[in-house]
């Protein structure tokens, strides 16, 4: 445990709701993690490139527009293609219960829905991150 956990907080797609992403980013930072926030409108390719360049341990994505089924699995796939499958991937937003099993199957480790406490996100990341 020499270096802090590094997290990329990302907003894939065209969705502009970033309150949740920013609140989570701040909470992770306050919990001692190093956080990079991408800002809005990132393509899956851009997110993967940033994740690799920043050498992060975790990619945390947020979507409230309903495009999660399309965009989350894409990010997972491209990360795999780039040989970075050891990065922990989590997602959050307005995501219907029915969609969660499919997203987990695609490789998103956990989905956080509205009302989640940031402390739960922090704990999940600490317990599931694979150290390099």
């Amino acid at each position: 445990m020499d270096r802090p956990i590094r997290v990329l907080v990302a907003k894939p797609g065209l969705d502009g709701h970033d309150r949740g992403a920013k609140v989570v980013a701040r909470a992770l930072r306050d919990a001692g993690m190093e956080v990079i926030y991408t800002g809005l409108r990132q393509t899956p390719q851009q997110i993967v490139a940033a994740a690799i360049q920043e050498d992060v341990d975790v990619v945390a994505m947020s979507i409230l527009s309903g495009a999660h089924n399309h965009l989350f699995p894409k990010v997972v796939q491209i990360l795999k293609d780039e040989g970075a499958e050891d990065i922990l991937i989590v997602g959050g937003g307005v995501i219907p219960e029915d969609d969660i099993p499919g997203l987990k199957e695609a490789g998103v480790k956990e989905i956080f829905t509205p009302g989640t406490a940031t402390t739960d996100v922090i704990e999940f990341i600490k317990n599931n991150v694979k150290r390099k």
Binding site: D15, G16, G66, P96, E97, T113
Partner: protein, 559 residues
Amino acid sequence: MYDKEKLDQIKKSKKDWEEKVVNKTLEKYPERLEEFKTGSGDEIDRLYTPEDIEDIDYKEDLGYPGKYPYTRGAQPTMYRGRLWTMRMYAGFATAEESNKRYKYLIEQGSKGLSVAFDLPTQIGYDSDHDLSAGEVGKVGVAIDSLADMEILFDGIPLDKVSTSMTINAPASVLLAMYIAVGEKQGVSSDKLRGTIQNDILKEYIARGTYIFPTEPSMRLITDIFDYCSKHVPKWNTISISGYHIREAGSTAAQEVGFTLADGIAYVDAAIKTGLDVDAFAPRLSFFFNAHNDLLEEVAKFRAARRLWAKIMKERFKAKSEASMRLKFHTQTGGSTLTAQQPDNNIVRVAIQTLAAVLGGTQSLHTNSKDEALALPTEDSVRIALRTQQIVAHESGVTNTVDPLAGSYYIEAKTNEIEQEAMKYINKIDELGGAPRAIDIGYIQQEIMDSAYIHQKEVEGDKRIVVGVNKYKIEEEPPSDLLKVDPAVENLQKKKLDDLRAKRDNNAVMEKLENLGKACSSDENVMPYILDAVKAYATLGEICGVMREIFGEYEQSVRL
């Protein structure tokens, strides 16, 4: 409002009461909390008395409804004359599907339409653009060209309804499409009534559907002001929005302060282009949020009205009363809804509806109980609309104008919010105005700080959210949520292919070229956009031309 002698007596007797009665009670029964705070986190006193409003001058600070400074309402008779417009924001999937929902809402008593566009439409991409993948028809209806717009309003006479369109960066294009549909129906543009949101500054601050950099965006907005003042005189050319600022986590006073600061920037920009303030200011409208703290919200609406009136009169030297009168739309607070025990949201929305009505709103959208989970179903939309109808017809609050006025607390709170909002406006002036304050991230940072404090309070159980951090139950995931068929994307793509094969592509090219030239000059772009729209140029093509000339906005990313 009180003479000095009376006031001294009140002060003295209040002190007596505190010392003799309150303190004794507190010894036996301490209060529930160490400090009591509003929804926005401002401290509240135990009791408000005439002492708290001793500086109020009735005529000057409150006055009469429909008269400066409009504290008590925008119109003289308010809801005794006409109820607010019950306007339900709706739109999803294709133009055909949304057209059906609009007709349903009109049947159910909705008096005005409010169109939600999907994200590609809001950001100026056609449905077949790479970046549109996965987003088509999701948060609103997909509109690629005039052909879609014709279907959207099929069978809805545009001289009979008023239509609000939540569209910002490409507002000029969608307005042009609306004008073109009107023409096809035989309704001339001077008869069209409605609103375009057209508020780019809050997109940079909080909502995120920007396209162009600040300067050309402001130019597009003032082009619309100018065009509409001549050709679409009944159209509200902008809806200066605090709604999304509040959703992003601001306090009530920040909502007022930042929104009015944006308003100041638009008025400044329009005056700079040579427009007379009284020619466009009466068509400015506002859009606020209604959260759960009923009394704080009522005070907020009243404070916003009074402050804007003063700004227009004193700062911009408006002469027409209509320029000073703040009219606003309200939407209940989406971020106050919980995914847990969603039926509870009906109650929250009812409280927020009361806040908006007691605050004197001109129109209202009520959120549906399932909106923390998905887009609302038809059933839940009906309950939300019925909530407004119950407040309108059963609660009795509509029978007299501004019924909470004169409450010591409401008036003190109205003063406080006005003063706090003014502090933000002064600070933004010091920074060089709203566009500059946004560029350096000041406004975003202030909002984020408030959002983070709120989250910490909820997680620390300092703020109770029923069903989330208290009164929790085990519940089954809800099963009857609305789902947008993923086939919509392919359907839109096919419509686009057909359109491009059918239309006169040479004419489209020519109109787009003309538009490009207008963008590079200082001519008003509206007529050129209208020409391109009528030739069935797509939204993506039109915005593409403008992207090339204007460039794109780069967000200042900060935590």
